[in-house]
Amino acid sequence: MDLNFTPEEEAFREEVRTFLKDNLSEDLATKVRNGRELNKQDIESWHALLQTRSWLAATWPEEYGGPGWNAVQRHIFEEECAFANAPRIVPFGLGMLGPVLIKFGTEEQKKTILPRILSGEDWWCQGYSEPGAGSDLASLKTRAVRDGDDYIINGQKTWTTLGQFADKIFCLVRTSTEGKPQQGISFVLVDLKTPGIEMRPIKLIEGGYEVNEVFFTDVRVPVSNRVGEENQGWTIAKYLLGHERTNIAGVGASTEALNQLKALGRKVKRYGKPLAADPLFAARVAEVEIDLEAMRMTNLRMLFGTSDAQGSVSSMLKIKGTVIRQEINDLARRALGPAASPFPSEDVIGNYGIAPPEAAANAANYFNNRKLSIFGGSNEIQRNIIAKETFGA
């Protein structure tokens, strides 16, 4: 039992930290820290900067242009990025499609698609959920019907994150209605410029736009755009859902959010004293800090592969990680008192200065982050997964 990082790991951490210090612009970090929406240019320039070091595709092997990191290095990298308020890497091409192609794709697919992900030429988005198929993903209804060397796709996808910036979409589509629902699904790549596709933004609870509906009407896609065998898409989907859950605990991001919360507690006043001096506030902060400390260790135990309940641990991390993050968001919102109420427009933040700028969007972020326990496999679904493993039924 040794809870220290190796000197090599510490040196790596230092390298990442130095890189971030030297290269992440203060403007961008401030935007992230203040919880503001990033535009396309913000994200693209950050991706490009990371790729100058081959750090963009953290999970890819070196031969495909990734850094070849192990789990610990990825953990360190993610933590340091969170501490520096770097933008989150958009995962659809880099964290999802890339690994899928590396595992399931043809040589041709790897050769043509992977470099364009790294270069930023292709921004990918995800076509998984449908209005009637959320938690019950296997019930998806978007049809792809074979027509010579093409599929003709009809149907609707939803909750497509950052689809408004994307060039291409990977989809789960139904290619057969025989057998179990899981058996007739295929994984298909679609260019969003193909005729018959319409992307409509969905406005979220707090007023922001980050997800979309995608409508497919007689969309013609070459069969060669399928990844893996026909009707074997569920295997890929499951593999990908596993991948979606790495870094699911978000320990780095929650740690940074907690530090910001404490700073806010020192800044705002209640009853003539800093809020941080109030025992009821301080007690809740201390409790969540303790929970986060434990989760950091749970996360490391999973990374180092010694957890007793390996399979369900990622579900546990998803549940507890979101609970902790949402508790921090809750406290950050409450810390503002009445100043949390104004809609965080540019006027409110920039000119009226009702709350400190880094906290003005705290209520909006609280509402937005209610998604954490819903998206990516809701916490209820995660509980079902753990229960299944616990009871073997």
């Binding site: 019950d136 007023g207 009853y271 009445p338 104004p342 809609f343 965080p344 998604k371 819903i374 209820e380």
Partner: protein, 358 residues
């Protein structure tokens, strides 16, 4: 003991419910809530015509209601439609005008021809009137009031300010002050009120008790509003669970969701009860304690109901287009108004002081 509402209050509730259903369907509600003046003059005129503002003031003071249960009756209905009109602001203003016999203003507000707002909070004074630093000197007010509910749509601003060490109440013509208007994240408007030697009239040199009473009226109103909103959000959630199919059956059949809906339903009944308690104590010496208890429980229940409702709706509950998301936002943000769960708990702790009681 009798829990039946009086005929008058039942009539007010019925007519207000009908009026709001007709006038503020969710699309119009959202338009009013987030656009333009965050206030609909026609809707406001309709409220006046129904006598809603009059119901918030006693007969002696120019209205025909004014008791705790009148306030809860009106605001529960406002909550059922999460109506964004600045009624909270005008309730507090009415109570203050009434406290100091300003019948001309009361008449105008009750008639719907004028609107007022009450400016008390400052960035460093949240929840603590003692920390107010706006001052009155030589007929002029200087200071900055923040997040003044309804301030964007008011003709008159009542300002809590210090003069000669006393906390007094002063009136400013809105057009004389710098009013920076904005919408709130859960809809409805507020404003920053910047006072820089702004001419004003002294309503009362010492107004602490009247201000506390007006704020308590506002808190009671918010509590009742929350109960109305919770009832509707619960109905929406139940209906959604019965209609939404996953894994081949309505998700209402999943026991884990059933039990969670039950748990928040219990808190809604508790919330309803504590509001009745506060309404009943509103005219007694226990007012402050009863209202603080109510707003603490409402804060906890509102958060539970809002978060669970969104969670149980899944993605759809996260969307602007779905009415339930606005109810959830309103329930969460009510806690930020006039002192939150913790502020109220501190107040209960101070008022009951279990360490020194006999």
């Amino acid at each position: 003991m009798d829990f039946t509402p009086t005929d008058d209050r039942r009539m007010i509730a019925d007519s207000l419910r009908r009026f709001l259903s007709d006038t503020y369907p969710i699309e119009h509600r959202n338009k009013v809530a987030y656009d333009g003046a965050f206030h609909d003059p026609d809707g406001w005129a309709g409220l006046a015509e129904l006598g809603i503002m009059g119901a918030l003031v006693s007969e002696d003071d120019g209205g025909f209601g004014g008791a705790g249960f009148d306030i809860t009756t009106v605001f529960e209905e406002m909550g059922r439609k999460i109506c964004p009109e600045p009624l909270l602001a005008n309730l507090m203003a009415l109570r203050l005008y009434a406290a100091f016999g300003k019948s001309e203003r009361i008449e105008a507000i009750v008639a719907g021809s004028e609107r007022a707002a009450f400016a008390f909070d400052e960035s460093d004074s949240f929840g603590d009137l003692g920390e107010i630093s706006t001052t009155f000197e030589g007929g002029k007010l200087t200071g900055r009031k923040t997040v003044v509910y309804g301030g964007q749509a008011a003709d008159w601003i009542l300002v809590a300010a210090k003069s000669g060490g006393k906390l007094g109440l002063y009136e400013v013509k809105a057009s004389d002050a710098e009013v920076l208007a904005y919408p709130m994240i859960d809809g409805g408007g507020a404003a920053e009120i910047v006072l820089d030697g702004t001419p004003s009239e002294c309503i009362a040199e010492e107004a602490t008790d009247a201000i506390e009473a007006a704020l308590d009226a506002g808190r009671l109103a918010l509590c009742a509003e929350a109960v109305g909103a919770m009832d509707v959000l619960k109905e929406m959630t139940r209906d959604y669970l019965m209609q939404r199919q996953q894994f081949g059956r309505p998700i209402a059949l999943f026991q884990a969701l059933q039990h969670r809906l039950v748990d928040f339903s219990i808190e809604i009944e508790q919330a309803r009860s504590i509001v009745i308690h506060a309404g009943g104590k509103f005219e007694t010496e226990e007012r402050a304690l009863a209202v603080a208890k109510a707003k603490n429980l409402i804060g906890r229940a509102g958060k539970l109901v809002a978060e669970e409702a969104v969670q149980m709706h899944g993605g759809i509950g996260m969307t602007w287009e779905y009415a339930g998301s606005h109810y959830a936002k309103r329930l969460i943000m009510i806690d930020h108004q006039l002192g939150d769960t913790e502020d109220q708990l501190r107040k209960v702790m101070a008022l009951t002081d279990i360490s020194s009681a006999a």
